[in-house]
Subunit: 153 residues, 2 copies
DNA sequence: TTCCTTTATATTGTGCACAATATTATTGCT
DNA sequence: AGCAATAATATTGTGCACAATATAAAGGAA
């Protein structure tokens, strides 16, 4: 019952560009999970912390732009992080539509504990760093293209 | 309130390799959604169809190995696809632990309608095909490494 | 001012994704 | 045969991700 499979069939799984990106994302999430759970974070929450450690406070919209996520994803996620004591959410008095997300001292302190996260995960990438950086830049370029495409349509 | 940010801080968002992969996966999902919804499929469901168009029937475990997913994800997903009439699930009489997933005629027929999906999405990748193939191969290699790492631990 | 439009965030409903656990079938050992 | 160990799938509970929609504030035109 195995189907015929021509080598140039555009529907072959191993010819897809999107599938390995999807699989990589899932596998990375799985790899990060045990490491980040020690910090009490999920992977998307870790990304929010990275963004806030670079610049805070930031609005929900600014976070969404940095992480390519919308309010439907961020609002409940930020509420959980607020509950956990990592950040605060309050309406901007200048413009009551906006919500400013700021770090608590606990949230700022967590950065010290996260310092070793990247290096403790490079084990999964075993390859020379220059190669990894090239891959990163390629995917970053792809993301920029996809994001532009998304905004335009 | 902007934080100091050293150029070699390992926690800088733009130095992460995992973040662009995560963002690319999300953006791709968003890009595929309107195209696949015309076929009545989600992106993971589309991947299951790609796998089954290559070879069917397959066990749940074999599908999970091909797509890097486990039964917790696949079981409900396959049930929805069974409800939609695309495939059948039945216990293997040879080994009652296994579930054989087979295509219905409707599921096989859907392949014809999916032929144009890949080309209708290359618009989002605007770059020369050789470059895209190189990126694909790099990410495939990464996925292989991550998957091995995952099995071993 | 009144009202219309736009903007920012929140809510609702659906479908993944996964860890932990449960269930049932097979295998292997004695 | 009896039974522990293993294997394959299913279930449960939590947390994303997103489209569609709702809510409320700001801006702008007449």
């Amino acid at each position: 019952m195995t189907e015929d499979q021509h080598p140039d069939d555009p529907l072959r799984l191993d010819r897809q560009i999107c599938f390995p990106l999807y699989a990589a994302s899932n596998l990375i999430n799985r790899l990060y999970r045990p490491v980040l759970s020690k910090l009490g974070l999920t992977y998307p929450q870790y990304l929010v912390m990275l963004a806030l450690w670079e610049q805070a406070p930031r609005t929900v919209g600014a976070l969404g732009e940095a992480l390519y996520l919308d309010s439907g994803t961020l609002t409940p996620l930020l509420k959980r992080m607020e509950q956990a004591g990592l950040l605060t959410r309050k309406r901007d008095p200048e413009d009551e539509r906006r919500v400013q997300v700021a770090l608590t001292s606990e949230g700022r302190a967590l950065k010290a504990e996260a310092q070793r996260v990247p290096e403790s995960l490079t084990a999964g990438f075993e390859g020379d760093p220059a190669e990894v950086e090239k891959l990163r830049d390629s995917v970053q370029a792809l993301v920029a293209t996809l994001a532009r495409h998304n905004r335009d349509s």
